[in-house]
Amino acid sequence: MQTLSPQRLTELRLKANDVRQGIIRSLEAAKSGHSAGSLDMADVFAVLYGYVMRHEPANPEMPERDRLLLSCGHIAPVRYSAMANFGYFPVEELLTLRKFGSRLQGHPERVRLPALESTSGPLGEGLAQGVGMALAAKMDGKSWRVYVVTSDAEHQCGLHWEAVMTAGKFALDNLTCIIDRNFIQIDGSTEDVMPLEPLGEKYRAFNWDVIECDGNDVASLVAAFDAAKRVAGRPQVIVANTVPGKGVSYMEGDYTWHGKPPNREQAEVALRELQTDRERILADV
């Protein structure tokens, strides 16, 4: 089901491309940080900020805003780059990533940058906080929704499943969990380290609605989020199948890029590739 015009989809693809370029620049400047997951979630964040969520960058604490939590805080560069590219702060500030005094901490800190909604990095904790927020909205009769972005590997944490069970109990249909299903973690493939499959079946068993999509395809994501909003009486999980390092040829599919940044030369190659991508997106219109 197509809900967006080709022009709007192109705009979102261009935003995702901007977000990726911001990730590369900030990681290169920081000289440390997580590349693969950040890049592969650029499309998800572009769609969330550009299409799905009710939010006002100029008024980040608007009470009726939808809440977006990044549970896997190590991919903060994608969140920061998306926020900058959607007007929360100047794009130049991305170059302060991980530096002393910056609001853009190595892992997100809400107190320094309230629009982050939560402080994260220790894995498996985001959905539990999202459940608390979604429950508060229900208790107060509010219409705002909660989105929690998670990594696949943090599904190895017990606390995450405590939260999954609880969201099922309270039928939190105002809660959507997004899984960055890229199959990689620090020590290798998720299925070798500690198998997660069948992941969707696990959620179904906890009374969730399960939606699968191509997490690197804007149209597929738009359809997935639309479907999630239509679900009543159950929380929804979007299993976003992604390619780690998406958009940079030498990083794609290589788990060794989980926790390292590109150096100057690698960043230049990456930015050239992303610029070519950008021209391709524009030519497709």
């Binding site: 939560s118 990095g121 904790e125 539990a128 608390g132 429950l135 909205a137 405590e162 939260a163 109990k169």
Partner: protein
């Protein structure tokens, strides 16, 4: 109610006559928590209670009946208890989260640090059944490290009220004070020494008995033992102790601690907790810098508890009246420079040794 020995501070405290054992009522501190929580929920509809399958024993049961729409049951999931509460607090709620102190905050330390303290959320941890006085349940359920692990976390208030009446006041005070907090209380009936008229303020220690020889700084249900010990050493040895109810471990009333040390020249700390890292350690940190005096520590001697009768366990692990008196005499002798008066060697001993070794 007052006596020659009970000075101005004592009178202002409006205490029960703790010297008359027959006049002392015995009520579990957890009851005070239950009553305070109901009232907090009445005063502010944003006060909510989240329970991890222990509504009756943590005394959240009454709140559940009084404010059903403000009550959430999540089952046996103590890590979730904290992180979910942080989410609710982010959306404007004031969650009290209850379980046994051993699990809450014992099991959830990193969630407490990240989602409550670093994230500056207005969550209140209610740690029930703290101390060895939980008794027959044994060591697995006896939280005696909780004060230590909470007080090292920035922004965290740590409050250990002395009886059920004070626990009610502390619950209300914690609800009204913005910020993450840990409130600790016990299971068993314990002596009620304060009254409705006794003041309570977070961060303000209270002098329950005046004295110039040794300052006994106590918290929790052992404040009563400290008072009894003070009366006995006055009678038996002529040592007059000040007894300070140091209910707020963090932020601690430094002025009161330094003042007591300066006035008395020797200090005994008393807590139902490991000697290492607890209230007494904080007192020592303050006095080491600001007014060094001999200090003796009454608490658990770097070991785990076991099953038993609560009173029997308090005695066995060195926190009974006799042990407090011994510590007072030792502190007094050290202050006077009596030859052979050394610090209690148990305080200086670590148990990081082979537990199966012969004679250990």
């Amino acid at each position: 109610m007052s006596s020659a020995r009970e000075g101005a501070g004592g009178r202002e405290m409006h205490l029960v006559d703790y010297r008359n054992a027959a006049a002392i009522e015995q009520v579990p501190t957890r009851n005070g928590f239950g009553e305070g929580l109901i009232e907090a929920g009445t005063r502010d509809a944003n006060v909510i209670a989240i329970c991890a399958d222990l509504a009756e024993s943590t005394r959240m049961e009454g709140f559940k009946k009084a404010h059903p729409a403000q009550y959430i049951e999540i089952g046996v999931a103590e890590q979730l208890l904290v992180a979910m509460a942080a989410g609710l607090a982010s959306a404007g709620k004031i969650p009290f989260i209850a379980s046994y102190a051993m699990f809450n905050p014992g099991r959830s330390w990193e969630q407490v640090r990240t989602t409550m303290a670093l994230n500056e959320t207005n969550v209140k941890i209610a740690g029930a059944h703290a101390g060895v006085s939980v008794g027959p349940d044994g060591a697995t359920h006896q939280a005696i490290e909780d004060i230590a692990i909470m007080r090292v976390i920035p922004h965290m208030a740590v409050v250990v009220p002395c009886d059920s009446v004070q626990t009610k006041k502390a619950t209300l005070a914690v609800a009204e004070r913005w910020g993450p907090a840990y409130l600790r209380f016990g299971r068993e009936k314990s002596a009620v020494v304060t009254t409705e008229a006794t003041p309570f303020e977070i961060g303000k220690a209270q002098t329950f008995r005046e004295g110039r020889d040794v300052a006994v700084v106590a918290c929790g249900i052992l404040v009563y033992n400290a008072l009894v010990a003070a009366e006995e050493v006055a009678r038996e040895d002529g040592i007059e102790c000040a007894v300070v109810n140091n209910h707020t471990i963090k932020p601690m009333d430094e002025a009161a601690i330094v003042g007591a040390a300066r006035a008395c020249g020797a200090v005994v700390t008393v807590e139902e907790h490991q000697r290492h890292g607890g209230m007494g350690s904080r007192v020592a940190e303050i006095l080491a810098q600001r007014h060094p005096v001999p200090i003796e520590f009454v608490g658990v001697d770097d070991q785990f508890g076991q099953s038993g009768d609560p009173v029997e366990l308090i005695e066995f692990y060195g926190m009974g009246t006799a042990s407090i008196k011994e510590a007072i005499r030792r502190a007094h002798a050290r202050k006077a420079g009596v030859s052979g008066a050394d610090p209690d060697p148990r305080s200086a001993r670590d148990s990081a040794r082979d537990p199966f070794a012969e004679g250990s």
